[in-house]
Symmetry: C2
Subunit: 334 residues, 2 copies
Amino acid sequence: MSDGSKTQSGEERLIERLFRPIARHPGALGLRDDAALLSPPPGHDLVLTVDAIVAGVHFFSEDPPDTVARKALRVNLSDLAAKGSEPLGALLTLSIPVSTDEKWLEAFARGLGADCEHFRCPLLGGDLTRTAGPLTISVTAIGAVPAGKMVQRKGAKAGDAIVVTGSIGDAALGLMLRREPKRAALDRLPGTAKAHLADRYLLPQPRIALARALSEHASAAIDVSDGLAGDLAKIASVSGVRARFEAKQIPFSPGVRGAIGAEPGLLETALTGGDDYEIAATVSENHLKPLQAAAAEAGIDVTTIGRIEAGEGIEAIGLDGRPLTLRQASFSHF
Amino acid sequence: MSDGSKTQSGEERLIERLFRPIARHPGALGLRDDAALLSPPPGHDLVLTVDAIVAGVHFFSEDPPDTVARKALRVNLSDLAAKGSEPLGALLTLSIPVSTDEKWLEAFARGLGADCEHFRCPLLGGDLTRTAGPLTISVTAIGAVPAGKMVQRKGAKAGDAIVVTGSIGDAALGLMLRREPKRAALDRLPGTAKAHLADRYLLPQPRIALARALSEHASAAIDVSDGLAGDLAKIASVSGVRARFEAKQIPFSPGVRGAIGAEPGLLETALTGGDDYEIAATVSENHLKPLQAAAAEAGIDVTTIGRIEAGEGIEAIGLDGRPLTLRQASFSHF
């Protein structure tokens, strides 16, 4: 048995063919070891996050494999960005049903590799397993932030402005568009608006370019993954404050604005649906301008939508200027 | 909606009730944030590993939930140990079928908490998701090793001794005992031997206590998770050498010895079956005694089973002194 190739399992063959080519960072050790090696940058803390996405729960089985891979990585990069950290690398766990063919996995690996490069987040290691269930992808992302500067959910103070990046509600309506394409409020939107919503559901845009500025200027932050209202409630809860925000200040894309215009109840969907992957942060008076300047330089819109007050919970003001009652502040699969 | 409790999802409730009590490390931020915070020890490299276990593939659905949790953590601690590193913390992804009741999850969390404490590997964060498939547990473990001292698979040199910790083949025969309890060679074993084999399959013993000594004395190492023969072949392959080992030198427990005595073909099962979670290392002449002394102090058996030679692949010598031909060097689910 001196022929090394005879000892190679199907798992090793897949790793060698699909994942080794996209894991070129020296710490990945060519994916030929039990573990990866990472020399943390001196003077920094590490930020660690893990999120899994499951076929049929977090994405559609028929989604393009490269976007599935990108989404799995990006939802984690979004967490790193919200904490003010920049990526050092990622680990992948892929649980593969027998029905998943190698072509699918090839495209998946290609998409992952492209994003790892784009976001400078090298693939360092992982694990492939078989499953009798749906395809499941778990990504662990490791980031670095200057020591003591991680932005937590805790830290919001009365008087702080509440800001959000990008636009809110696109992904929730993009998901609705997948499920109910004939719903009048959506069906009547222009094609470009529909495409924008669909794309925003499919492919989050992690705000890594704003991470450093957040670590310098935000008092608290969260990535908006479970709905703006619920995610602000989380900041309010751990910070011991109240978050008050106004719907009319929230940045909505033309598609979301049009859909709400046609069906006012969709405002609630936009405020409580998941998958925005924007960042909601609280910022004290004197840090607001520097944060906005950094955001402008990074080409990211940052909009003030409300203010932190003494108290607890959230207060959402509707488009009519009256307090909104939301049935459920955030989306949950449980 | 000023009542914070209304905004809590089922996932948050589970995290709060089951996992927050076992995640007391300050870097876990009470599991109330998007990510964990870790200050890496200065002068150290990080070792990162992730392994998933799937119900029906890596463990039996009817296994006690606390041992399932322990196994999920321990298979990763075993990787850290083999690389010469000591644990800093772990992240958990749990994909839960609707059929898994909260009692099961309670016992799971209890087992995990006990092991996190025992191995000083704090739970730092994680993610809970629903799945239509089998229960899947993915653990990412982060370890630290003095800078430049990670033990890789690469590094074995001609003349090095090959050593293994503990005993080999117990878990493979323990698994066989679960599947074929009436197989004559196993059925005739004394009850204590059977219990030992079953336990070794259920609950690996990661050799964390030997990690530091390995980082000082081993030229290469791997944790024996896919079968001794195949795992030595991996060291041989990346190190560009041949691994020659003799079955009669391999430490077998009384159960394995008895089973092989009754059915000689089970030698191959012991050498190529998975789940030992012992460590196979290569050690140069002058490092062998110090490693053995450290192992003795840690209460871990270390046995020399062969030698690294120029060449490639592995050469296994059978109990009769003649070269063994193994059908498959290691176990793979693919």
